[in-house]
């Protein structure tokens, strides 16, 4: 019977091509716009580092060391600490793992000075590679001893190693950073988080994670003249704005991230930070009550508006638009089915049950829905292409994925069925006798 209904649906579609084109096109536009918005939303939501970022939390507090008359309120949680506080928190080893880090951007040159590259990387205090799950291709991360002794060592990523040395295995070689030789102890696989969440003040405007091309211990870097991208928040007496400055002793410029496995551990850690911060406030190092707060990665990204509002807005809009298209198609389908009431009544008079008529019409709308899905495929592709052309930070997220294709087919089938229920129900309610009398 199903095959017969399919056959019927096909024949009916061929009978009224303009109408079918209109119906499928409307569905396709609705599906395509929804799927375009969904693809981008999907790419930007979710964990930046699957399996790792759910355990990460950032420490925030009001750690200003002097009263600031112009801005006495602490409006937004502040993740920047100075080197002393960040170091103390990391050295305390109260979490499973802890790292203080800051975004840096510097020139890295090979010893001959032939190849050189402006690279983005992290200055870190603590086991940054292990905590963020950065995979190593060669070598090892720096050790606690090297960090303590401020040995100039660095981990660079495979792409940078190839650019500088022509080979990925650059372990044991040295590179010039800020006028000093750093020994490459490890080569990491090219790594970036799916979305940006580390050191957001210095990565403003980024939505998608950017590759971190090198990892270097903080103190060794500072000693060599490699500083963070911006100096961070500096007290009076330090430069107001300075790029890649190493004069950061009066500044708060490092973010402290910790890995905590359970809510209980998180609570205990928060209490530890509160007591530390309160002690600093009592000792006069912090001018204001510290107002310590810990943020998980998702909450931190939301607080800092990493994913722009228009991503969600567009999804809401596309959803509403799809709904409008559904109502529209339902109306047109009802008109289409009811126009052929005579056929239905004859079938009914010949013994078809309501259920048969219902099934037949539902098959027809499902076929139309799938046709709409097929049509939506190029339209979605077009939609994503348009997004890629847009001057937005998330343009690179607009790529068609196999997941999206599966979602598309499911969505179109669902659309076809949902849209068909009302008209099919309406048409199968026709009593047979009435129509025969009329005709």
């Amino acid at each position: 019977m199903f095959r017969y209904y399919l056959h019927l649906a096909w024949r009916r579609c061929r009978q009224s091509l303009p109408m079918v084109a209109l119906l499928t096109l409307t569905m396709a536009i609705g599906i395509a716009s929804c799927l375009t918005a969904l693809t981008i939303f999907g790419a930007l939501s979710g964990e930046p580092l699957p399996g790792i970022s759910p355990h990460l939390q950032v420490v925030t507090m009001d750690a200003r060391d002097a009263i600031d008359k112009d801005n006495s309120d602490y409006k937004r949680p502040d993740s920047y600490l100075d080197l002393i506080d960040a170091k103390t928190l990391v050295d305390a080893q109260r979490a499973r793992q802890q790292v203080a880090l800051a975004q840096s951007y510097t020139r890295i040159t090979d010893p001959d000075g032939k190849h050189s590259e402006q690279a983005k990387g992290l200055m870190a205090y603590g086991p940054v590679l292990g905590m963020l799950g950065v995979p190593l291709r060669h070598g090892r991360p720096w050790t606690a001893e090297e960090q303590a002794a401020q040995v100039p060592v660095v981990v660079i990523d495979g792409d940078l190693a190839r650019k500088l040395f022509g080979t990925q295995d650059a372990v044991g070689r040295s590179v010039l950073m800020g006028g000093r030789d750093f020994r490459v102890v490890g080569v990491s696989a090219p790594w970036k988080p799916r979305t940006q969440f580390l050191d957001l003040p210095r990565n403003q405007g980024d939505v998608l994670g950017q590759p971190e091309q090198f990892f270097v211990p903080v103190q060794a870097a500072l000693a060599a003249g490699v500083g963070p991208l911006t100096a961070g928040k500096c007290g009076k007496g330090a430069a107001i704005i300075s790029f890649q400055s190493v004069e950061v002793s009066k500044c708060r410029w490092l973010e402290t991230w910790v890995a905590l496995d359970s809510a209980k551990a998180a609570d205990a850690y928060r209490r530890f930070v509160v007591s530390y911060a309160d002690a600093q406030h009592a000792a006069g190092r912090f001018a204001y009550p510290p107002k310590v707060a810990m943020f998980g990665v998702q909450a931190w990204m939301t607080t800092n508006h990493v994913v722009p509002d228009d991503v969600g807005l567009n999804l809401a809009l596309a959803g509403a638009f799809l709904l409008l298209c559904l109502v529209n198609v339902a109306g047109l389908l009802a008109a289409r089915f009811l126009r052929r009431q005579a056929d239905v009544t004859i079938r009914r008079a010949l013994g078809a049950s309501r259920r048969d008529v219902f099934a037949q019409h539902l098959v027809e709308t499902a076929v139309l829905g799938l046709l709409g899905g097929v049509l939506a495929l190029p339209l979605t592709w077009l939609g994503l292409w348009i997004v890629r052309m847009q001057p937005v930070a998330y343009a690179d997220a607009a790529h068609f994925s196999p997941m999206a294709f599966a979602a598309l087919m499911l969505l179109s089938l669902a659309v076809g069925l949902v849209v068909g229920i009302l008209p099919a129900w309406r048409v199968c309610r026709q009593p047979p006798a009435m129509q025969i009398k009329l005709t």
Binding site: L22, T26, I29, S33, D70, Y105, R107, Q118, A239, I240, I241, S242, F243, Q244, S245, V246, E247, H305, D309, D310, G312, L313, N314, A316, L317, A320, F321, L323, L324, C325, V327, N328, A330, G331, L332, A334, A335, L338, R339, I386, Q390, P391, V392, R426, L438, T439
Partner: protein, 409 residues
């Protein structure tokens, strides 16, 4: 008579009208919100800049590694730019129109108690260099300029504000010569208005909406020691391209060797900056207009399709009414009235939906409340659209001859 027929028909056959109604309600809700979003993108683009854009060159991104430019370096730069052929005026500035790399913001409180947060531009001779039109008062006197960033305890700072700001802070009172306070420190008056500009678009473009585009203040500050440096350069419009090249060369001669590695000074016309600054807005605007257009088309097609079907089903009924003496225009009017009735109910629901939708979006995102005026505007748009969409089926209905009444189908 015809009104009763209308109601009876609608009650008997409720599927088609209710689908039209639902469509109109949804479309109305979407359109109100989309058009409001589009307006927010459009507002800063439409706002008058207040500067003379012809022959205005902006220079910024002069970033020094580890430290700040000295006053001498800043004025040497100004001098070098003055010597470029075609240049008429040069000002070193902190915070310049369309240059968001440095933001200067301040809070003002007027005698009425009104508080306004404003963007500020600092620099010597900005009125002349930017080509700002003053409608009242005067430009700063050379003696009024002080070094930027140096604290001014107890001094009353002269200000030039815009007409829009004057209205917000003083109401209808003449602003020139009046004092303004700082809401953060109510002990004394801090500022005195010396001049009023017609317009001056702020460089915080994200806040240049809801009538806040002109909340801009000029400060009598000379750029002294500074980490971030920018210049406004007015050139002869007839020589603008030659002058641009000259300014570029002067900047790279003066600052090139000192700049942070990997950073390049930006030297471009105001119009170029404006295009770049509004690029994302324009793109978003096109997207929203595309959505609007698609929603309109889909709705029109829906209404036409459903009404067309309805006309077809009621052909016999129309024939009978014609045979009983109804004129063509009566039938036409009946379908138009019916559509107007259905659409009216639809837009009423739609306005509620628009409000609810906006409230939901406000909860999720930083979005302002939909002003109520937008909802009747959307409703009227839908009504006109409905009448247009129904025109063709209604004309077809009016063309039904009375003789149809005598046929059996």
């Amino acid at each position: 008579m015809s009104i009763r027929i209308l109601f009876v028909t609608l009650r008997r056959h409720s599927l088609m009208p209710s689908l039209v109604l639902l469509q109109v309600a949804l479309a109305c809700a979407i359109l109100c919100n989309v058009l409001f979003l589009a307006w927010q993108q459009l507002e800063p683009i439409l706002a008058p800049s207040g500067v003379d854009a012809k022959g205005l060159i902006l220079v910024d991104q002069l970033n020094l590694p580890n430290g700040a430019w000295t006053s001498a370096e800043v004025s040497a730069g100004t001098q070098a730019l003055r010597e470029v052929p075609g240049v008429r005026a040069v000002s070193a500035g902190l915070g310049l129109p369309m240059v968001p790399s440095y933001l200067c913001v301040m809070a003002l409180q007027g005698p009425t108690g009104a508080k306004v947060g404003a963007s500020c531009y600092e620099g010597e001779g900005l009125v002349k260099t930017l080509g700002i039109q003053l409608v009242a008062g005067r430009d700063f006197l050379p003696s009024e300029y002080r070094d930027a960033g140096v604290a001014s305890k107890g001094l009353v700072t002269p200000l030039i504000i815009t007409e829009a700001l004057a209205r917000k802070l003083f109401g209808d009172i003449e602003a020139v010569g009046k004092l303004l306070g700082d809401p953060g420190d109510k002990s004394a008056a801090h500022y005195q208005v010396v001049g009023v500009a017609r317009h001056l678009l702020r460089n915080q473009l994200g806040m240049a909406n809801h009538g806040r585009a002109d909340d801009t203040v000029l400060l009598a500050d000379r750029v002294g020691k500074t980490a971030s440096l920018s210049y406004a350069v007015r050139v002869d419009p007839a020589m603008r391209d030659i002058a641009l090249g000259g300014v570029r060369r002067a900047i790279s001669r003066q600052f090139g060797a000192l700049l942070q590695a990997g950073y390049l000074a930006q030297v471009s016309f105001y119009s170029t900056r404006r295009d770049a600054a509004f690029k994302t807005r324009r793109a978003a605007l096109w997207l929203l207009l595309g959505v609007t257009l698609t929603v309109l088309i889909v709705t029109v097609i829906g209404i036409m399709g459903l009404t067309g079907f309805w006309v077809q089903r009621r052909t016999r009924q129309i024939g009978i009414r014609r045979a009983l003496g109804a004129r063509r225009v009566d039938i036409l009017r009946e379908f138009m009235a019916e559509n107007a009735f259905i659409v009216s109910i639809g837009v009423t629901i739609g306005m509620v939906l628009a409000y609810v939708g906006n409230a939901l979006l406000m909860k999720q995102y930083e979005l302002p409340r939909l002003p109520w005026e937008w909802m009747p505007a959307g409703a009227v748009l839908m009504l006109v659209l409905g009448q247009l969409a129904v025109l063709s089926p209604a004309l077809r209905a009016a063309a039904v001859p009375p003789v149809v009444a005598t046929r059996s189908v």
